[in-house]
């Protein structure tokens, strides 16, 4: 009576054992990839690894190894939730293998040992890494060590709604010449305010829609600080230029005072913001190169080039026109076996090849990471990519990789928001920022 069940389970055990033996011969490796700030156009940040895994498996097969890579993809649409999840996962030793995040995370994460330098696993002289723009590689380095491989580049333009520019007296030729005038510093942030006011006075846009900034905190706001002559870092030390920061805060207070920007602009629903700029409800606004993809693909602005002109961020008093590039980087997280991390590094390398990276660049309207990428048909044939690269990228600077930059940013933003909404006067905001920077960062920041 009992023989049959025993026999059954013995057979089952044997089958199970045999099947694991087969699997053990083939190497199964699970590589998890997380990415932050990834909207519907950014799927190739993680999808690139499907392609890369396929190639790496084939390469292994040719060498006579059987490698089976399972790619687990977790894209996050926002930043707060992503950074919270990732930091806590890493502290709990449950970090993914690869993460695509803003380069400014390299500083604190490297110090905390959450990431391992990419250069420990990748030959930097090998293609395609050797082909990546050196300034981008610089941005993904920290303490003289290359920690990440740039995943994309972008820059952040000012946008002008052409029909309204015409309605307030600009000719077609004037609008055509605007980018050059901005670059030379002949058209400034003061002109932005004046033109926004004119658009409202003429009834082209509602009050508060003349100049329509980003609706939330973002690297964009450092551009204004640069426009007003501020410097973020010098020789490894953060810099708080009090006068430049004051002019920056003052500018937003002035915008609100003139009625061209809403006092309660920050925190408005993002979907509403997108719909409004895509449909000509705003006169002048700013954003990133990737806005092109969203405006055209999701928001239905089919005739972008006839409706919108784009330029650098205009200069303000004491500074120059500029734009900021905020590359995302692929980073290798700590806490995995050497073997896994080496495979992850190989995947990053393949995913950085021009043709694969161009999928992301063009779909999401980011800029390419290497000169050869610009020669890929898909990229070369894209008007936005080529014009934006040419007009903006040469003027781009980046936020510093500094373990303390996040603190500086939080304090800078908090007080900008306070002076913008009128919760504090500009003077109080700048002084509060200075006090708090001194008490939290001490000697790590130069205040002048």
């Amino acid at each position: 009576m009992t023989v049959l069940p025993i026999l059954k389970s013995a057979t089952l055990a044997a089958v199970l054992f045999a099947s694991t033996a087969v699997f053990a011969a083939a190497k199964d490796v699970t590589i998890s990839v997380w990415s932050g700030g990834s909207g519907p156009n950014d799927n190739y940040r993680t999808d690139a690894f499907d392609i890369a895994a396929d190639i790496l498996e084939r390469e292994a097969a040719i060498r006579g190894e059987q490698l089976n890579i399972i790619v687990q993809k977790t894209p996050y649409s926002g930043w707060e939730d992503f950074k919270q999840a990732l930091t806590l996962a890493a502290e709990a030793k449950k970090a993914p293998n690869i993460v695509a995040t803003g380069h400014e995370d390299i500083g604190p994460w490297a110090q905390a040992g959450l990431i391992v330098p990419v250069e420990n696993f990748i030959d930097l002289d090998s293609w395609p890494i050797s082909d990546i723009y050196p300034n981008l590689m610089e941005i993904t380095s920290f303490n003289g060590t290359v920690y990440g491989i740039p995943q994309d580049a972008e820059s952040r333009p000012f946008f002008f709604w052409k029909p309204y520019m015409k309605a307030i007296g600009y000719s077609d030729a004037d609008i055509e010449a605007l980018p050059a005038k901005v670059a030379k510093g002949e058209y400034t942030l003061k002109n932005v305010l004046e033109d926004a006011k004119k658009m409202q006075d003429k009834g082209l846009v509602h009050a508060g829609y003349g100049f329509y900034p980003r609706n939330s905190n973002g690297p964009d706001y450092w551009q204004f600080y640069t426009s007003f002559g501020g410097v973020m870092e010098e020789e490894g030390k953060l810099v708080f230029d009090k006068a430049a920061m004051k002019r920056t805060y003052q500018y937003f207070a002035d915008l609100v005072k003139a009625g061209v920007t809403k006092k309660n602009h920050i925190g408005m629903p993002g979907d509403q913001w997108w719909k409004e700029v895509a449909t000509g409800k705003a006169g002048i606004w700013h954003g990133g190169t990737w806005h092109y993809a969203r405006l055209v693909n999701q928001e239905g602005l089919k005739d972008f080039f006839n409706n919108v002109q784009f330029t650098l961020t205009p200069a303000g008093e004491g500074g120059k026109s500029n734009t900021l590039t905020h590359p995302l980087a692929y980073l290798l997280m700590a806490g995995h076996t050497d073997e896994e991390t080496r495979i992850a590094a190989d995947l990053i390398k393949i995913a950085s090849e021009p043709r694969i990276n161009a999928l992301h660049a063009i779909k999401s309207a980011h800029l390419g990471i290497s000169p050869s990428e610009t020669k890929v048909d898909l990229y070369a044939a894209d008007r936005w990519a080529s014009e934006a690269t040419e007009r903006l990228l040469p003027h781009a600077n980046a936020m510093p990789n500094n373990a303390d930059f996040g603190k500086y940013w939080t304090i800078m933003w908090k007080n900008l928001e306070a002076s913008w909404t009128g919760a504090k006067t500009v003077d109080a905001a700048v002084n509060d920022a200075e006090t708090e920077l001194k008490s939290t960062l001490g000697a790590a920041i130069i205040i002048r």
Partner: protein
């Protein structure tokens, strides 16, 4: 029977506070990590050392890769291809490279063609600088410095260790930051305003009003009213707040309604600090009122009907009944609701997080929300666990102090003393 209760109290009530207190005494953040640090000579550490020990700082500031006998011996021990060691010895002995990349170029060019993995292994062996190496212990760092020719006194070692440690340290700095920051003072005032107004207007007064008015209604009408006022409490908070947002957004109900009278649409929720407070207090007050209403209603129900009948025979008005019968017998529930709701308002921030996120411009940022933003969620991803915990600890202390004050005001001792009549 006391043991299980004590264990529960310790685990679920005391432990969180104790842990918060421990975290509060550290400078733990994303950059320092939670589990402890290592000793690493980074560019930042070199900067910190420049003032005190300029010689050491300049000596360790540069990466340095040297092809020497020590490295070659280690390479032989690795048992890679023998050609590597031989060729390095004959062609590159004594060469010095200012970066890992340059050293690796030479290694890569060896005739036996090491793989990328081997190149990394080999270059590690010839690393003769301490820059960027993560030393698990302080002694390892000191030993490496000694090998580089820097023999340090214990005092100097202490300075170097302090400058290069990447982990968290014990500190009381968090409390100094809280005490000195003008923003913290503002957040503190916000919290005091939010808690007192919501508590007095809604959680106690309005709840009392609801309880008394429904007391005088026919039973069935009263239950309908109570059920309606329970809706905010039983609706999931995300949906409840979303409904408020629909009401107040640019494209929401109020905007549409006002549009009929020619007012341009605007975001009523975030239009100004006043608006934001108005809605935040309504959102929380409507939830809070229901709890008080239930407690007070049942307390009124517990008053013997004879009191009301007798007073009516004596010709007492409704107001006199409220003043002389209901309120005196509600002291205990009012104390309970005040105390409980103060603590819950102090600690809860989910409605504010979901509605205004503390905006506009941090106008509705309350203490618990600020602690959450500081410690766990902010845009730059710079999570300051230590500072956030210190803020939470302040909240614990404030809660305890307020509770003690309430007990005093409501004369708790007389509430729990035995009634004289039973003596």
């Amino acid at each position: 029977m006391i043991a299980p209760a004590a264990v529960m109290i310790f685990l679920f009530f005391l432990m969180p506070v104790v842990l918060t207190a421990i975290f509060a005494m550290t400078n733990m953040s994303t950059a320092t990590g939670i589990s402890g640090g290592v000793w690493q000579v980074t560019q930042g550490a070199v900067n910190r050392l420049k003032a005190d020990m300029p010689e050491l700082a300049s000596g360790i500031a540069e990466p340095r890769f040297v092809i020497d006998e020590e490295g070659l011996a280690a390479l032989e021990a690795l048992k890679l291809k023998a050609g590597f060691t031989a060729e390095l010895r004959t062609s590159h002995m004594g060469e010095v490279f200012p970066s890992r990349r340059e050293a690796e170029r030479v290694i890569k060019a060896l005739k036996d063609r090491p793989s990328t993995r081997e190149v990394k292994q080999i270059s590690d062996l010839f690393n003769r600088s301490v820059l960027n190496t993560r030393f698990e212990t302080r002694d390892e760092l000191m030993a490496s410095l000694k090998r580089l020719g820097f023999t340090l006194t214990p005092a100097e070692q202490e300075t170097v260790a302090k400058a290069t440690y990447t982990g968290w340290v014990w500190t009381t700095e968090n409390f100094r930051i809280i005490a000195n920051s003008p923003d913290m003072a503002q957040i503190f005032l916000n919290t005091a305003f939010y808690v007192s107004v919501t508590l007095l207007v809604f959680n106690v007064s309005y709840a009392l009003f609801l309880a008394i008015t429904t007391h005088y209604m026919p039973a069935s009408t009263a239950s309908i009213f109570r059920a309606i006022w329970l809706l905010p409490r039983i609706t999931p908070v995300v949906i409840y707040v979303l409904m408020w947002k629909w009401l107040t957004w640019d494209s929401g109900f109020i905007s549409m309604f006002m549009g009929q009278f020619g007012y341009p649409p605007k975001n009523y929720l975030l239009d100004s600090a006043y608006n934001a407070w108005f809605f935040v207090i309504l959102i929380n007050g409507f939830i809070g009122a229901s709890m008080g209403m239930l407690v007070f209603s049942s307390a009124i129900k517990a008053i013997p009907q004879a009191h009301f009948h007798a007073s009516e025979v004596d010709g007492a008005s409704r107001w006199q009944q409220v003043r002389h019968i209901i309120l005196p017998q509600l002291r205990w529930p009012i104390l309970f609701v005040t105390c409980y709701q103060t603590l819950s308002l102090l600690a809860s921030f989910n409605e504010i997080l979901l509605s205004t996120r503390g905006g506009p411009g941090k106008a509705t940022e309350v203490w618990s929300l600020a602690a959450y933003h500081t410690a766990l969620q902010n845009y730059t991803g710079n999570l300051e666990y230590g500072l956030g915990a210190a803020m939470a600890l302040v909240l614990v202390v404030v809660g305890i102090v307020l509770s003690l004050i309430y007990l005093r005001i409501f004369r708790y001792d007389t509430l729990i003393s035995k009634p004289l009549i039973e003596d």
